[in-house]
């Protein structure tokens, strides 16, 4: 029984809850909120979850090696500030460089023994302060190409859709088709054993933190383009929402177990909660409270131990 389902889902962390939750949510909303299935609303949901999805995929990488990155929301915010503050031609390279620097700082700190939560809490606080010092409120001019890239549509599908597909494809290729992907599963499973097989944790772990920060930068670029304005607190919710999303998707924060599909399903679940409550006219505060309950419930129903990790 246990063994069979473990074999079916392997190290993906997926289970009936992670898969069933968004489906159930979808069915409920389709039944009770008439406008839920309208094309416009589906497009809305897609728009709403795109940035979170990109961040959650970054968070997934860090979670797979047993870390956590709560600075990623501040990276989103600071990216937004950078985009509207520097020379438009340099905006994107500057933002990407920022992501690399933050990721290296986080990754090196963790490698030298700082707990990931403390390390990224420090950079979260630091970067948020920096963003607010630089730009006290929302405003600024967003370079036109970025607005175009975030808001245009092609072949009848909105840009958000393509951003999602690109992010999912990139994460999937990285995790499932490269040595790097296999090795981060190995390191997350047991870094010492991986070391005895000749796989050292240092570089892959560092790369995971850098990639997570870069995911924050990409999400920040997308979001800034979409709202056509810089906002120094724009990313604040993403730090923890991304952790919620991957946890709902069955990713184990102790490392070694998780999947791109899980991160996507968890993000969709969160997006449907927000959208559904909105459609049903429920207070957003209530929806936050519900998310908390749902997270605890979903985690409790998931298999606590997957394949011995």
């Amino acid at each position: 029984m246990m063994g069979r389902s473990a074999r079916r889902f392997g190290r993906s962390g997926l289970g009936y809850v992670a898969i069933g939750l968004p489906l159930a949510m979808f069915a409920l909303l389709a039944a009770f909120a008439p406008e839920f299935l309208s094309l416009q609303n589906i497009v809305n949901v897609n728009n709403q979850i795109t940035a979170l999805l990109i961040v959650a995929l970054g968070q997934l990488l860090v979670a797979l090696i047993g870390g956590i990155d709560i600075s990623v929301g501040s990276v989103v915010s600071l990216t937004s500030v950078v985009i509207v503050s520097v020379n438009p031609a340099l905006a994107v390279p500057a933002a990407l460089a920022l992501g690399v620097v933050v990721g290296l700082a986080n990754g090196l700190g963790v490698s030298f023994g700082v707990h990931p939560l403390i390390m990224t809490l420090s950079s979260m606080t630091f970067l948020q302060g920096l963003a607010l010092l630089w730009l006290a409120g929302s405003g600024g001019t967003v370079p036109a190409p970025l607005v175009f890239a975030a808001k245009t549509s092609a072949f009848g599908l909105p840009a958000a859709f393509y951003w999602c597909v690109a992010a999912i494809a990139a994460a999937s290729v990285l995790l499932y088709f490269t040595r790097f992907g296999l090795r981060i599963f190995a390191i997350g499973g047991n870094a010492q054993s991986a070391g005895l097989s000749g796989v050292r944790a240092f570089w892959p772990s560092l790369a995971c933190y850098v990639l997570c920060s870069l995911a924050g930068v990409v999400a920040g670029i997308y979001l800034t383009g979409r709202i056509v304005s810089g906002d120094p607190t724009m990313g604040a919710p993403f730090s923890l929402d991304s952790v919620t999303a991957i946890a709902l998707g069955g990713v184990q924060l102790s490392g070694g177990v998780g999947s791109v599909a899980g991160a996507v399903l968890g993000t969709i679940t969160l997006g449907l909660i927000t959208n559904g409550m909105n459609l049903l006219g429920v207070s957003p505060f209530f929806s936050a409270a519900l998310t908390g309950v749902l997270l605890l419930g979903a985690i409790s129903l998931q298999r606590r131990k997957v394949i011995g990790i």
């Binding site: 490269t178 097989s197 990790i309």
Partner: protein, 507 residues
């Protein structure tokens, strides 16, 4: 004169290694030759594992060098050693539970095509390797779903899969079932025929005599002998390993045993286990022997109340009367029962604290919470002298002591507390031979002074050499009581292994 120079694959030259204050290896030199199976043996703690970890690239040696084909060779890590043709099957499992069999076999050297992992190729080659070793498993199974024995076979397959000239097996048969051992033997013979050098680390005499061409014996981190196995007999090998007669290691048994100190009635460690009853008498050392994991540990831990038991009672008898113990460890300690856990570093000692504080803790047993914590320093010093604790002074931290001295401190705490019953798990695990004799003497003196001692041990010779009575535990039940003086390994093993017809696991 054999052509020694051209079949010499690996030469250890004056290898030394220390871990903190412990000298794991001192000046070890010997040669391993191509196309041979080379046993490295010795008692627990003799330095076998350290030596092969140096060859496997896990630890660098402090001094000395390894030569291959006469050239000094240094490894930057396990991966480097493997790349240079030395592959190792470690004693502890190194498989990742969240990777498939195929992924585990190729982790660190995954086949690639156009930059991406070539999973088809990986599966195909993994099937080939498994077929070669004779393991019938799906290469897409997650390793975490396999049994321990299957996992060890995969571990062995992993060592065989790497293209290497030297293969090291560290206690490979410990977790294998009988068919697994046969597969291993076949594989090793094949590797030998292919001209490889196989190091076989084990202390199982049967396997050494069956498999190995040459045997190197280590003792206390030093090289004792390297000889062709056919020139050795069991007796001569054992005396090389032990370096002394059993009689010298163990103290004299006491002739008398007194009134019962503890009586255990119908104790069941869980709802389905058999009920066990036995007495521990003053003046005796009682051993709970058996194969590992048969319930010895649970019985002694249930007896002191460290883990809850399902049924039964434990009473301690004193001159003043009797006390019911075994419900909670604190009550047992208060009644005068000291418990020395097998993992003294995490369950017993306070490693950063001094010897004085670790021993002195025992004196605080009867003090009330609000009284000042006073440690009788002269008593601590006397105890350290009596127990022959080797340390700079009583302020030295326990973490920097050797295993044997740590164990003495652990026992010293209970002596300071004035207990009259000692329950000791694995009294000499991680203790070198010299200190072993001292710990045995310490336990014997404690019993001679009217105390009672219970030990569990995975080393059979310890039961036979030390104990006055041995209770054999199998499947959570006591299946035999043997007089220590008349016990032999064979008698104890027979009871530990075999169930009488008609009374299997259901008892």
């Amino acid at each position: 004169m054999p052509p020694a120079s051209n079949d010499c694959e690996i030469e250890f030259r004056n290898i030394s290694k220390r871990f903190g204050p412990i000298r794991a290896l001192t000046d070890v030199s010997f040669v391993g030759r191509r196309g041979s199976v080379h046993a490295v043996t010795g008692e627990n703690g003799a330095g076998k594992s350290t030596l092969i970890k140096i060859l496997a690239g896990v630890h660098p040696p402090d001094a000395g060098e390894i030569l291959r084909d006469g050239q000094p060779i240094r490894f930057q890590g396990p991966a480097d050693a493997r790349a240079k043709g030395v592959s190792t099957v470690f004693q502890e499992l190194t498989l990742l539970p969240n990777l498939t069999v195929a992924e585990n076999l190729f982790l660190g050297r995954e086949p690639r095509r156009a930059g991406f992992i070539d999973r088809g190729e990986m599966r195909r080659r993994a099937r080939e390797i498994l077929g070669h070793v004779g393991v019938e498993l799906d290469v897409d199974d997650m390793c975490g779903d396999l049994t321990i024995s299957e996992q060890h076979l995969i571990e062995i397959a992993k060592g065989a899969a790497a293209p290497s000239r030297v293969i090291i097996y560290d206690e490979p048969s410990a977790a294998l079932d009988a068919p697994g051992v046969e597969k291993l033997v076949r594989l090793i013979e094949e590797q030998k025929a292919a001209g490889k050098l196989v190091f076989y680390i084990s202390h199982r005499l049967d396997e050494i005599f069956r498999l190995c061409d040459v045997t190197t014996v280590l003792k206390d981190g030093q090289h004792v002998a390297t000889r062709p196995t056919r020139e050795l007999t069991r007796e001569s090998l054992v005396s090389l390993m032990v370096g002394r007669e059993l009689g010298q290691l163990y103290p004299r048994r006491s002739a008398r045993s007194g009134a019962p100190a503890i009586s255990v009635n119908d104790l069941a460690i869980n709802a389905t286990a058999a009920r066990v009853s036995f007495e521990i008498k003053r003046g005796e050392i009682l051993g709970l022997a058996g194969l590992e994991g048969q319930g010895q540990r649970e019985i002694v831990r249930g007896l002191v109340g460290l883990v809850p038991h399902a049924a039964g009672s434990v009473r301690k008898h004193d001159a003043a009367g009797e006390t019911k113990i075994g419900e909670a460890i604190v009550a047992s300690v208060r009644a005068g029962v000291g418990f020395v856990p097998e993992d003294r570093k995490s369950e017993g000692l306070y490693l950063p604290l001094s010897i004085e504080q670790n021993i002195g803790l025992g004196m605080l047993r009867s003090a009330s919470m609000s009284s000042r914590a006073r440690i009788d320093k002269t008593r601590v010093k006397t105890l350290m002298r009596e127990m022959n604790v080797r340390a700079r002074d009583e302020k030295q931290s326990v973490g920097s002591l050797s295993g044997g001295n740590q164990q003495k401190v652990m026992i010293g705490r209970w002596l300071a507390a004035g207990v009259d019953v000692l329950i000791v798990e694995e009294p000499t695990r991680g203790v070198d031979v010299g200190a072993k004799a001292e710990i045995y003497r310490l336990l014997r003196e404690f019993a001679d002074a009217g105390g009672a001692v219970v030990i569990t041990s995975s080393e059979l010779t310890e039961h036979i050499g030390l104990c006055d009575r041995i209770l054999v535990v199998r499947d959570r039940a006591i299946v035999a009581e043997i007089d220590g003086a008349g016990a032999t390994e064979e008698i104890v093993m027979r009871h530990a292994l075999m169930s009488a017809p008609g009374q299997g696991a259901s008892t």
